[in-house]
Symmetry: C2
Subunit: 299 residues, 2 copies
Amino acid sequence: MHNKKNLNKSLIKAVITLIFTLTSLHIHAFNGGGSHDLTMATHDFANAGGNSQPITNMDDLMGRQPNPNVNVNGIGIYVYDGMFSLDALGPYQVFKTAGLKTFLIAKKKGNITMSNGLTIAVDKSISEVTQLDVLLIPGGAGGTAMQTIDTEILDWIQKIDQTSIYTTSVCTGAWILGAAGLLEGKDASTHWYRANEMLTKFGADYTGKRWTRDGKYWTSAGVTAGLDMSLALVNHLFGKEYTQAVMLDMEYDPQPPIKGGSVKKSVPIIAQLMRDMYDFFLINFVNCPLGTPGACLFN
Amino acid sequence: MHNKKNLNKSLIKAVITLIFTLTSLHIHAFNGGGSHDLTMATHDFANAGGNSQPITNMDDLMGRQPNPNVNVNGIGIYVYDGMFSLDALGPYQVFKTAGLKTFLIAKKKGNITMSNGLTIAVDKSISEVTQLDVLLIPGGAGGTAMQTIDTEILDWIQKIDQTSIYTTSVCTGAWILGAAGLLEGKDASTHWYRANEMLTKFGADYTGKRWTRDGKYWTSAGVTAGLDMSLALVNHLFGKEYTQAVMLDMEYDPQPPIKGGSVKKSVPIIAQLMRDMYDFFLINFVNCPLGTPGACLFN
């Protein structure tokens, strides 16, 4: 992509012909500047978001490196049966658009099926992944409750967290981080449903914010909040102008058709009925003392 | 879900145990009121959005029917290699959360791979689908350009459109609707990239709006605008309170980390460089006269 103005027209045509045979035009275009080059992660939090030089030309845009570099071990999104699809696939689109090395990890290789029936292919199994720069845990309802009592998963998360630059969750993914003991004494966001009760159980404080950063832990509110949190992380890594490029590519200038999307902005009866609906399936789990959720799920 | 307060505690426990063995807790919960019951589609546009009775209890929430009924033939999202993942999977999550019969359709059964590498399973092939209540066409870059010259796909879209209640697109999906001749004389939205040039070619007027409704045709701006348009369609079908329930479930109260997401809200150099980047791959296609795009793609 460098010095593109010097390429003559026939070369451009040849490149276009080649590119159109690929299915992944988009990410190739964005990765043109070599943002996947392997360099040492700095783990330098003080320097994070230090991409303060303005972007003035195509080379600046394409060559912009994340700081700290999260492309060494990459960004791993943990996926599992019964999760909410957008919790993972919103951030996945953001990170990929930003040219970041991002993949989907499950307990076993193969396919997983989301709560809404969407079936996706997994890139790696947890046994293949021993180190990640960024770990992201998406949420769900019953499927997520099941993860909080799976000691193999909790052990893997704890191990990854020991060397991660950032450990993050979207929605009720915070229940899993909490069950792994990683939110003790932290401020955190999560899906609004019984948020205080759930986070208190894990020793965390519910902030009610769209996303919360507490040290290396980033947690977001429900489902669509993963888009905002992942863009905030891109902003932290690359600076504002590069993030604007990502947002413009995704035309992310949201205009919800009506007021809503939070308990405060909803008609009270709607928020109450939605909580009742979730209570019907989850209240036993919510009320279960920490360390014995299995008993509450299955007795 | 009806009369839940009359169920005794052991029955609730039995139901919970059963439900937790399913991977698709969420959609089952939302479909409890039988919103998949088959009744005749009314095609009564004047009556659309006529769910004006307020929701006062769980039965009202769970039993709310779309009007007009789009669950007869259902909502079909056309998917193809090289498309942008969120264009389809944002609306998919919205429609499924709203309890609507929604499936993914491709040229052939099996898997398709998005521009960012995400691989998903397809529900049906186009040969299996002869009628849909709602057709949604997502966008992309090179992969989308390829669709605009695939006469088998364009023929299928024209056929589905003849009896659809709504024909819709997200992002550059409008290029495909345009190539099928369906946007002639219409107002429309699309991804900002060369939007005027592209829509003019199809005889349509670019409105620059987040989404545009012109008769039964709904079109949205790029990628994330599909979330807003699909919620607007849910609002049109179910009314505001039910839509608030869907938005609350997805906690859709967006808070982008920085200003951006449209050409107007971006630093001028960023918008220019992003256009240059797309031009590098797509300008020949953009400049190609209608009816001969194949020549421009491959010569």
